[in-house]
């Protein structure tokens, strides 16, 4: 169970190549010999397709995936099995065309998925970095380094992969059969034992605190409205959350609570409307705008508690994205949508676990940026949020339909329990 939950192993895979062997490969023992060669060479194989000839003179065919620990080892194995007639199936390199217009791909560009991909150049496979759905792939002509590139970031002259030849994708299902959430068959869980899932999430947060992967929280203002802000503060103080993506609202109501004890004018302790409470959030924004930024407000003692306070105090990288319905907004809010995408894209590179709580559009936006290898848990009172995420390709998401506050309370308890049992 411990191993299954590990995040660190998720991206560890050796180089791989598909080979085909055809002819009388069964009677001649060529296929077993090729397979033996692969394993004695230190590699592993997967027979992806096999077709055995029916008649005595009918040839057979096998498509075999060969995997090794290093590129050199793979090449050595491939050279050996080539002598027995096992030849790589990938016929051609990918085609690369220079972008002729800034901010647009050449026609016929390869459109990416969020699955790990590789491109073939001069007969060798190169991993595509920064995997993200709905992007293109650009290649550094000197180093052959490939990475996903957003349409808006295309520059004139940038080499862009065109067509499907020479590109291969590794579906997550096969590569990670031991996904941490394998026990959950349906993506959206309304009728699953939540305690088990919450324990798993706590375990992931706990392991990520030790490992090099980062945990990202994408949160909506309901966290504050439901009085769960202090629970998030607990997690930040415990070192479990390294990044926060939110909008103007979460930060605003968090600061409102810090300054006035209300969220949207409601006293969080008494659940009653405060006098002139509707003004509180605007006054909160105004006060921060007067100071210049949230970090400055924390430094000057204007903000002395809350999620944003803890973020500043614990070096949590927060990105606040603006929208057209925002009041203010807070000075830290980025109002340029493309710039927001860029900032978030840069920030998620080391994220291995993402917790999305009570925000639909923000969750979808971040889901679009995340490679499929990042485990995502989406918590929302509304099942459609998770369904939408899945429909948009973030199929690695596991959804939990529940109220935010009891979820977070249980999560913090589980994390603390883990701390106690391991110390």
């Amino acid at each position: 169970m411990e191993d299954r939950l590990s995040i660190a192993d998720s991206a560890e895979r050796g180089p791989v190549e598909d080979v085909e062997v055809r002819g009388h490969i069964i009677d001649s023992l060529i296929l077993p010999k090729v397979l033996d060669c692969i394993t004695t060479g230190g590699g592993s194989f997967l027979i992806k397709n096999i077709n055995i000839g029916q008649g005595r003179t009918d040839p057979s065919f096998a498509l075999v995936e060969v995997r090794a620990e290093t590129e050199d080892q793979l090449q050595e194995i491939l050279a050996q099995i080539a002598d027995h007639g096992a030849v790589p199936t990938a016929g051609s390199d990918c085609r690369v065309v220079e972008a002729d217009i800034a901010g647009a791909f050449p026609e016929g560009f390869y459109s990416t998925t969020n699955q790990q991909s590789e491109i073939r150049l001069e007969g060798k496979w190169f991993s595509v970095a920064d995997q993200e759905m709905d992007c293109g792939i650009t290649v550094d002509p000197k180093t052959s380094a490939a990475r996903c590139i957003a349409m808006s970031d295309v520059e004139v002259g940038m080499p862009i992969v065109v067509g499907h030849a020479g590109v291969r994708v590794f579906p997550l299902e096969r590569a990670h059969q031991d996904h941490a959430f394998a026990f959950m068959n349906s993506a959206v869980s309304t009728e699953k034992p939540k305690g088990v899932v919450i324990r798993q999430i706590a375990q992931l947060l706990f392991e990520n605190r030790q490992g090099k992967g980062k945990s990202l929280l994408v949160g909506g203002p309901a966290i504050v409205h439901t009085g769960s802000g202090n629970l998030i503060c607990d997690l930040i103080r415990g070192g479990y959350i390294h990044k926060l993506f939110a909008g103007n609202a979460l930060a605003t109501h968090d600061i409102e609570q810090s300054l006035f004890g209300t969220s949207l004018g409601v006293n969080l302790n008494e659940s009653s409307l405060a006098d002139a409470g509707h003004e509180h959030h605007l006054r909160a924004i105004n006060r921060i705008r007067r100071v210049g930024s949230i970090p400055a407000a924390v430094e000057q003692g204007v903000i002395q508690s809350g999620i944003m306070y803890e973020c500043v105090k614990h070096d949590v990288d927060f990105i606040l994205s603006g929208s057209i319905r925002d009041d203010g907004p807070l000075p830290d809010v980025i109002t340029d949508a493309i710039e927001n995408q860029r900032r978030m894209r840069a920030s998620i590179r080391d994220v291995t676990f993402c917790l999305m709580i009570a925000t639909t559009l923000h969750s979808i936006a971040v889901g679009n940026l995340l490679p499929a290898s990042v485990k995502v848990v989406c918590v929302d009172i509304n099942p459609s949020t998770v369904i939408k995420l899945n429909d948009r390709g973030s199929f690695q998401t596991v959804g939990l339909v529940t109220d935010v506050e009891p979820f977070l309370r249980a999560l913090v308890e589980e994390v603390k329990r883990l701390e106690q049992t391991t110390h």
């Binding site: 002819g23 009388h24 009677d27 001649s28 060529i30």
Partner: protein, 279 residues
């Protein structure tokens, strides 16, 4: 009406050790040309005496190994799949073999590009199966493609000893169900394949394999080998064959012997397709 056994040979007019492309060859250890001619003529006479018809491809200066006609092609009825020699030194032989075969009525097919293939030296029928030696001179993939071209079952056998660089130096089908072989020239897989697929398989001892015991010409029940293979000959006699030895020492210096010096044009005795209609 059965046709006469038909064998292609090439007089050793220009034969000599002019390069080294196998462990037997040493340019420092020249063949005795006069003796080579005598030995070749003796072999030819033995084959004629068995009732075979012997045709000759004209010798060509600068192509000393043209004498080893076994490597010209494999014959399958009126089709011949032409060799694609691995070593540059022998590639010049291809057009001469092609011309001869075409002039004498064979449909000549090119062997698959990008793969080397050394004719009947590495591809021998035993029953309905084409046994194909690879690793040393011919490629496994090429063999499989030739099998598809001809519509026959191909069993590639890896040759693991450089001294037995062609299949016909370590394996000789005698009939569709019987063959002799030198086990150590094959890896474990190859030995298992042979043992499983050929009902009567006889091993040759190393000392005699080194004398090219397996490089035999089979015509009917007559089996012609280099001299120095008494145990094999005793064995063959016990199975009802008529072994004949003839000295071929001057050709052994180039890594060849009786079989290498001949190409059976009407199909080997062991070829299952022989005598079947439509081949």
């Amino acid at each position: 009406m059965p046709t006469l056994p038909h064998i292609l040979m090439c007089p050793p007019v220009h034969y000599g050790i002019e390069y080294e492309i196998n462990p037997w060859m040493s340019t420092a250890r020249q063949s005795n040309h006069k003796l080579a001619c005598v030995q070749w003529e003796s072999l030819r006479q033995i084959l004629l005496d068995t009732g075979a018809q012997v045709s000759e491809v004209s010798p060509v200066a600068g192509l000393p190994d043209l004498v080893f006609t076994a490597n010209a092609a494999i014959v399958f009825g009126q089709r011949a799949v032409l060799a694609r020699f691995k070593h540059e030194q022998r590639q010049g032989e291809e057009p001469h073999f092609r011309s001869w075969l075409e002039e004498h009525g064979w449909q000549v097919d090119e062997s698959p590009e990008d793969f080397s293939f050394e004719g009947a030296g590495d591809a021998l029928f035993c029953g309905d199966t084409l046994y194909a030696g690879y690793r040393q001179r011919s490629d496994a993939s090429g063999h499989q493609q030739i099998g598809e071209m001809l519509g026959v079952r191909v069993l590639p056998l890896e040759l693991v000893d450089a001294y037995y660089y062609h299949l016909d130096t370590c394996f000789c089908p005698l009939s569709p169900e019987e063959a002799i072989y030198f086990p150590a020239a094959f890896d474990d897989y190859g030995q298992r394949v042979l043992a499983k697929s050929i009902p009567k398989l006889h091993a040759v001892e190393e000392s005699e394999a080194r004398s090219f015991a397996c490089n035999a010409v089979v015509v009917g029940k007559t089996v012609v080998t280099n001299s120095g293979c008494p145990k094999l000959h005793a064995l063959l006699r016990s199975f009802g064959y008529d072994p004949i030895e003839t000295p071929l020492s001057e050709f052994v210096k180039a890594g060849g012997s009786a079989k290498c010096l001949t190409l059976r044009l009407d199909g080997e005795e062991a070829a299952g397709w022989k005598g079947q209609s439509g081949s």
